[in-house]
Chain length 286, copies 2
């Protein structure tokens, strides 16, 4: 036990000792290869839910460690009823770390009031995109708000156990004839479990693909479990090939849902794998 | 500060809580995609020096976390003068974790006695390969021992600051006409800093390429610093393409020399990136 205890202390101390230089070093100076002035080929981001068990300072520390510069901000880290002062505090903290909030969400919306609040919140935060789950009967109302605010919505699919949006097709079928600012946040893990192959979904729904939740799962079945990217059943070569093919203009947001009390190691492996695959695929395409 | 403290505790606790299931789960059951019955395309391993600041239990815990199953054992974790009982204890511990010791090293050998000790040690540990640095004037004697023990030696290059073996060419030129069991452990980071492009070195020294130390560096110059794989200047697509081209029969041992007090996050990113690139390159070749 004493060995274990020492190890944990060492790990903790090591992390702490490195966190501060890491923070200052990454705020603008370290640029990921392939993410240079010309812009990244497939920019990596993070879905805020990944950091559900941590506060925003800790989330920023982890983002810096793995050099990820795009965040879909989750209400866990900035509640929807935040005051302007609270919003300013959190968004400035994130901006000062060199991280861009490109969306807010996932936000669940079951009433008109919740939709009102979500759009008002997105506007106050200053983002052009909500990743959300408005219940289907509220899509007309959601569309009104999209027009009113000129803020896009990317509706997020869950898996086969979800009654509303099990896969991306269930989203697409309900928005395909609506305002062009209504689209999909394709959660590739849930899509895979719902029987929709993510790379094919990228092609099928290309015109409405606004955001991605990228993860891997152990099986293409309801009981598939979240795992490190590259260890599961999703074909990331095919996925990134198709993303490049459609010139996907959004962020590739990694959402890591395993080891949520201690996610950084699995996040790092996942981000590394995704960057490695997408870099090779980009080169092949070039 | 209290936030930082809580975060570190959480990280430490999370790690501890997950370490035990991780250990049991990975001991034989979780197999990396592409590393199936047919054998891995480019098997990933770890150079033991990566864990210089940790004991062998901690090293095993980290190897399990990132699912790496090949280790070049460093004398830090099993001293060269270990008793048979000590050797058994450490090697059984590693074997029980489902990890294979494929080599010992890096071992520095400046005298005949140190060469004697290294070969006797490798034999007692039961490995077919020493990764070592025998001084050039001892290469005749080293060759005698290679023949006597039938144990291969992979001579490791350092960088431009090293008088003995700055790059792989300095090794190759001295062993090319010697026993076929004398070869190179190509340290790609040091090679890059010494002005030898690693992917080209793979082709040039293919007949004598026994082992690899895989890392990335920030610059192809003496003062280039160790960094996470994928963040530096080494072309891993080209490297893995050439490794597949020569049908490299060895292990791709990652050696991570940044954040040595807290290496696991950077190791994970590095292993992820290398696996991602090599998987895509394998697919392209297929």
């Amino acid at each position: 036990m004493s060995t274990r205890r020492n190890f944990l202390l060492q790990t903790a101390l090591g992390f702490g000792a490195l966190a501060v230089p890491g923070l200052s070093a990454t705020a603008g100076t370290i640029v990921k290869k392939g993410e240079t002035e010309a812009g990244p080929l497939l920019p990596v981001g993070m879905a805020g839910y990944t950091f559900a068990k941590f506060n925003i300072d800790q989330a920023i520390e982890m983002l810096n460690r793995i050099n990820v510069r795009n965040l879909s901000l989750k209400d866990i880290h900035l509640p929807i009823n935040s005051t302007p002062g609270q919003i300013r505090e959190v968004t400035e903290k994130i901006a000062n770390a060199g991280i861009k909030i490109y969306a807010v969400g996932v936000i669940y919306m079951k009433t008109q009031t919740e939709i009102d609040n979500a759009f008002a919140y997105a506007k106050r935060v200053g983002v052009p995109l909500i990743v959300g789950v408005p219940t289907p009967e509220l899509l007309d109302y959601t569309e009104q708000k999209v027009k009113e605010y000129n803020i896009k919505i990317a509706i997020h699919n869950h898996g086969p156990e979800d009654k509303l949006y099990p896969g991306p097709k269930s989203v697409y079928d309900l928005i395909r004839n609506r305002d062009a600012r209504m689209g999909i946040c394709l959660d590739i893990g849930h899509a895979m479990r719902a029987g929709e192959e993510p790379a094919q979904a990228v092609l099928n729904y290309r015109t409405r693909l606004f955001d991605l939740h990228i993860k891997d799962v152990t099986a293409a079945a309801k009981d598939g479990k979240a795992t490190e990217i590259g260890r599961g059943v999703i074909d990331f070569g095919k996925l990134t090939t198709n993303l490049l093919k459609i010139r996907y203009p959004g962020i590739c947001a990694i959402e890591y849902e395993k080891d949520m009390n201690d996610p950084l190691v699995g996040i790092a492996e996942s981000v590394g794998y995704f960057r490695g695959v997408s870099r090779e695929v980009s080169r092949k395409g070039a």
